[in-house]
């Protein structure tokens, strides 16, 4: 990343002078990258976005766009697009007038504005909706207009602040694909804020996981999923089993209650650790099933059916364990019964407690 497009350097924001909503965030965004800020509410992701857009000024730290510090640049001169969670469409203007707004502010010629508004409407598949007022459109259509308005002036960066939070599940999945398509077609740099880990997983080139005002991990989604750097990241993204213990020598983890567990040799020993094992990596060991590196007997406390898969919650040696087999593989599982379960060493991942 020799030439980052947008850089945040030690960004800090404090509203009250005592606690920091954003507590030293540094990251580089590549041109054309789709970067997601993922984190619970209050983790500082939206505040960081507001500082990039210029609606909040950093308490300290710098924001560089194409190598230029944009701290003194007011929001209306930044050329950074933004899509708001509640759309923020101007209610007294038609869809076309909403989309034309940034072009009028830039004093483009009337014919050029008309042409680009038509293009933008086509890009979001709303060709015949230009004359409609926002209140005459559905939530999904309004969000498309908001998107078209934010990209029509070709901003250097597009910020999206939980843009799909107000939509129902099916529409949300559809809009996720739409946003990805627009990202592909325009090649625009996008920063996407969400607290929905699935959204982050499916859409992003990289995910920045926010917690308590800092970025805990920034990496491609599959890396974050497979190798979380902390207990928080492991818990926030996907489901996980947490086994605390110590690692006295490479490849062997002494878990409290469960005893020795084999882990991959590359995992680092030392100190108090937590072993993370994804529930889908834990298998039910029926007769004739291939043996796993680690195996325990578990009593089932509860079963939750999801249709395609089953979440089984139980205890092994007093330690809670969760597994997520397919519903076919778990058809015989009953509450109160005991079963053999296990996982391979490669599926365990150690982080500091």
């Amino acid at each position: 990343m020799s030439n980052p497009h947008l850089s945040l350097i030690d960004l800090v924001k404090s509203y009250d002078g005592r606690t920091n909503a954003v507590d030293g965030v540094s990251l580089d965004v590549r041109k054309g990258e789709f970067l997601t800020f993922l984190g619970p509410s209050g983790s500082g992701k939206t505040t960081t976005l507001m500082m990039i857009a210029g609606f909040e000024s950093p308490t300290s730290g710098r924001i560089l766009l194409n190598g230029r510090d944009i701290a003194p640049v007011p929001p209306f001169d930044r050329n950074i697009g933004m899509v708001f969670q509640n759309y923020a469409l101007f209610p007294h203007m038609s869809a076309a007038d909403n989309i034309a707004f940034p072009l009028k502010m830039r004093k483009l010629a009337r014919a050029e504005i008309a042409r680009r508004v038509d293009e933008a409407l086509a890009l979001v598949n709303l060709d015949n909706f230009g004359a409609k007022l926002p209140r005459e459109m559905s939530g999904g259509q309004q969000q498309r207009v908001a998107l078209a308005r934010a990209i029509v002036f070709e901003p250097d960066v597009l910020l999206l602040d939980e843009p799909l939070g107000a939509l129902d599940k099916n529409l949300r999945e559809h809009m996720q694909m739409e946003i990805k398509r627009i990202h592909r077609e325009t090649g625009m740099t996008m920063i996407y804020v969400t607290h929905d880990q699935t959204e982050a997983m499916t859409m992003s080139d990289r995910v920045a996981v926010f917690n308590k005002g800092v970025i805990e991990q920034i990496a491609p989604p599959l890396d974050v999923y497979a190798r979380p750097v902390s207990r928080f990241v492991g818990a926030f993204i996907g489901d996980n089993n947490f086994f605390s213990g110590r690692c006295e020598k490479a490849g062997l983890f002494a878990a409290d209650g469960l005893g020795p567990i084999k882990v991959a040799a590359g995992e680092q020993p030392g100190g108090n650790l937590v072993l993370l094992v994804r529930p889908e990596a834990v298998r039910l060991l029926g007769e004739g099933a291939p043996a796993t590196d680690n195996a325990f007997t578990m009593t089932v406390d509860g079963v939750v059916h999801y249709g395609d898969s089953v979440l089984i919650m139980g205890t092994a040696n007093g330690v809670p364990v969760r597994l997520r087999p397919s519903s076919v593989a778990a058809a015989h599982v009953r509450e109160g019964e005991s079963y053999r379960i296990g996982w391979d060493a490669a599926n365990g991942h150690l982080v500091h407690a």
Binding site: A53, G54, F55, P74, P75, F76, D77, R78, N79, I80, G81, M82, F84, N86, A88, L89, F90, P91, H92, F101, P102, M105, R106, R135, E136, R149, A150, F153
Partner: protein
């Protein structure tokens, strides 16, 4: 039963109009009910008599000026009170509301001496200043309420799209809040147009407002033109209310139809 009661209350409220409206068409030389006969003579009197037209004109001028000055004061006040936190905010709020809490007669007396000291009694300016002070609370409350419901993301969006703060106000904030501004200004106008007690004390002859003229007229000669003025004012308010009701109804229908 409830409907009947509602109807009875409504009837009780509008009953005076059933007396005033017929009296305005009466031929009697003084206020008299029921009227002995009907004609339009007193309407002609009202529209030709400078003693009536001048106070009407005064009232319109004073009400319009009061509404404008009130808006100029409360617009920044409402934005500051709704959007910022500052030292002494509660005190400012109290000062803004004070004219509403004080009895009219007390204020009237105070204005009489205060404006008299500045030689502003019996002038338009004096009445306008007093009316501005009196209409500030209600106009402020109306505007502040509509400002509280305003989504600030609209302003953020406008700025993000390249609008300067001034353009943001005139292209987004004001158009979206226009109903609030109109209602707020309307309240200021009506409050001034309707105000009697303070006007009685300070408007004198040259700046006499319509309510003051009506009051004087009832006391002096019970001129039936009063009934004419009352009827005209009533029709004006009635028409205004109908227009607003129809507009609201249409808006609601539009909302329902888009479901």
């Amino acid at each position: 039963m409830v409907r009947l009661a509602a109807f009875a209350v409504a009837l009780f409220i509008v009953a005076p109009m059933f007396i005033v409206v017929p009296m305005s068409f009466s031929t009697a030389i003084s206020l008299e009910f029921p009227p002995p006969a009907y004609w339009l003579g007193y309407y002609r009197n009202y529209f030709t008599d400078p003693n009536w037209l001048r106070p009407t004109f005064n009232s319109v001028i004073i009400a319009a000026a009061s509404a404008m000055i009130t808006m100029a004061i409360i617009t920044p006040a409402a934005f500051a009170m709704v959007r910022s936190r500052f030292r002494g905010k509660a005190l400012v709020n109290l000062l803004l509301m004070l004219p509403m809490a004080a009895p009219s007669i007390v204020l009237a007396l105070a204005y009489y001496y205060f404006l008299g000291g500045m030689r502003l009694t019996q002038t338009h300016l004096g009445v306008i200043l007093a009316h501005v002070a009196l209409s500030v609370p209600i106009s402020f409350l109306v505007l502040a309420a509509s400002l509280k419901g305003f989504d600030r993301n609209l302003e953020r969006a406008a700025m993000n799209l390249g609008a300067t703060p001034l353009k943001t106000f005139f292209l987004v904030t004001f158009p979206v809040l226009r109903p609030g501004f109109i209602v707020s200004a309307f309240f200021a106008f009506i409050h001034s147009f309707d105000e009697t007690v303070v006007s009685l004390f300070i408007s004198g002859r040259d700046a006499a407002t319509l309510p003051r003229k009506m009051f004087d007229s009832v006391r002096m000669d019970a001129d039936p033109v009063i009934a004419v003025v009352s009827t005209l004012l009533f029709s004006l308010v009635f028409c205004g209310t109908v227009v607003i009701a129809v507009a609201n109804h249409r808006r609601r229908q539009a909302r329902i139809s888009r479901g």
